[in-house]
Symmetry: C2
Subunit: 352 residues, 2 copies
């Protein structure tokens, strides 16, 4: 790929950003797939599996024709906030290769402030070169529009506390953390450093639980984070049940309420529930003509919610904004918004 | 990108292919654009411009978020024929880089036989490295779904007669040539060699006029080709008018009829006209709920038409198959089919 959007370092930067996200920069490689293909690949429907380079190559070879489009959970959320008119920043590590340039171009073109740490591309990227190349997420979309993901993180795995852009994080009203990064010890330290900076500057910290298996892997640490470090929590029903070891959804909701945090629990086609100290608020999903690909639904829900939160909306309106953005992104292939989100917000009479 | 679909050289290859295409292998880089962006880039609406690497980089930097998806005119046509159940082959030159691997993966995953000539990727691909890297086509889709293209051909420009896979071409019932390649003298010789092989084996030769400006650049040579070398001609109204220096569409149709060839003239939303020695046949466009992106409309029309031609259909049914495939590809972003074309053909009661 040729070079990218105007370098933000030469532009006047805003003193304050609404939200800064930390996550793995990934390029999504999407194709339609059958249930048989999921089974053959040993993938768990609807979940995200981390795979090494060799496994990613085998799976890619078995996939049908693909579409490449920038992704990454927190990056998708930041692109959504920018599309809503918010001031968003992002950080994460990419390689100086074609996919890395694609990622950088797309997130800047979306209006997100991003000063990439670009790792030199390896000469070959062959077997054994586990941490080489920009991360990619193989996304298999089945007939019911559900997405199942296999991610090869590439150089995204090498992010550490020294890579945290202190100025960027210090300018954020909210620092948004992708739970997925908790899989990598140095990335975990980077997240802790970002939390520290946010708290020094009276910023808030939002955490996405990312994936049920991710919750299983880090349940204890996530619960500890909720005690002292997190202000806003995002997750779907299954993730909340697993996080709180709940026997039922009601029990998970009760446990979530007891944290005293602002908790947004997404429920797919049933919409979402927001838990606040003043009790739960249920909000329906926004209507969609045809669900094409659920990739990015949770990411864009978080985008709408956080945009609302940083623009004076109450919990219910935040959830409605989340539903609206999620509905847009599931109506087409790919996890970044295509329609004009600001216009959708106006048409829905929100934030008026 | 990791490696690609199963290597066809290790599989049993069919003795006979319906169609083999020769064209530039490209990865499309698509984004939505405004009329102002087209004007600022100096691009002619609806046309294809060839640009050097520096111009491609400037334009890419100014584009919004993009989607990367395999393209290339003749390659799209071959992917369509394979999706219809036909036996299709393709040849063209890619670089051994990420976009090259994406192209190879996607065309094989579509079921097209392709033995790529892979040129080593350059170490940097910086300015001045004009013939480096896999070709890419920057596609700007405006609000009316029209696509305007700027192509940097990369290593596709270096194809010459020595690169023609004689065995592949010799197995083809029809050799399909993309007019775009006529811009490059060595590629022109490759096309002449492919025509020679086709004629030695009693194969037919089909030519796509590709683009009005392409016709302007090569009018005389295209007319000479029609005299001796071409059996089937594809083009839209404007291309036919320019090819025959006609003062009106009727005059272009008369001139096209006088060639004695099988001529398919596409007319956008008005469908197509097929000219045969037994008089013209008009066929309407197939219905589309919403036109999203016209990229690939002509390519997929040719796919349906040639599939019909190699499966016993008459001119009218060929045109109906073309309309059906074109309608599918304009209903989504990207120039390769996403729906099951075989099912669409069955539902339309064609080839039954």
């Amino acid at each position: 790929m040729p070079d990218d959007a105007p370098d933000p370092t030469t532009q006047r930067l805003p003193d304050r950003l609404d939200v800064v996200g930390l996550g793995s920069p990934l390029v999504d490689v999407l194709s339609r797939a059958t249930e048989e293909q999921l089974a053959a690949a040993g993938l768990s429907r609807g979940a995200m599996a981390l795979v090494d380079l060799a496994a990613a190559e085998v799976l890619y070879a078995a996939m049908g024709p693909t579409i490449e489009v920038s992704g990454g959970s927190a990056a998708n959320t930041m692109a959504g906030i920018a599309a809503l008119g918010g001031a968003a920043g992002f950080f994460g590590k990419v390689a100086d290769d074609e996919l890395g340039h694609v990622f950088v171009h797309d997130i800047r073109a979306a209006g997100v402030e991003f000063h990439p740490v670009m790792v030199p591309a390896s000469a070959d990227g062959g077997p054994g070169a586990e941490a080489q190349g920009t991360g990619r997420c193989l996304v298999l979309v089945t007939g019911d529009a559900e997405r199942t993901m296999a991610t090869h993180l590439g150089v995204a795995t090498t992010i550490g506390p020294g890579d945290v852009p202190e100025d960027l994080v210090a300018r954020a009203g909210v620092v948004y953390l992708e739970g997925y990064l908790w899989d990598l010890p140095p990335a975990k330290e980077a997240m802790r450093r970002a939390i520290e900076i946010a708290h020094e500057r009276d910023g808030s910290v939002a955490l996405s639980l990312s994936d049920p298996f991710c919750v299983d892997r880090h349940q204890r640490e996530f619960l500890e984070l909720l005690l002292d470090d997190v202000d806003v929590l995002f997750g779907n029903e299954e993730e909340m049940v697993r996080l709180f070891d709940a026997e039922s959804l009601d029990q998970a909701i009760t446990s979530a309420e007891e944290t005293g945090l602002l908790v947004a629990m997404t429920r797919g086609a049933k919409g979402s529930v927001v838990l606040t100290p003043r009790g739960p608020v249920e909000v329906p999903a926004a209507p969609v003509d045809q669900v094409m690909d659920t990739t990015g639904a949770g990411d864009l829900y978080a985008a709408g919610f956080l945009y609302g939160l940083t623009h004076g909306a109450g919990p219910e309106e935040c959830a409605r904004l989340g539903s609206l953005c999620a509905a847009e992104v599931i109506s087409h292939l790919g996890a970044r918004p295509e329609a004009d989100l600001r216009q959708l917000v106006r048409e829905a009479g929100l934030l008026s």
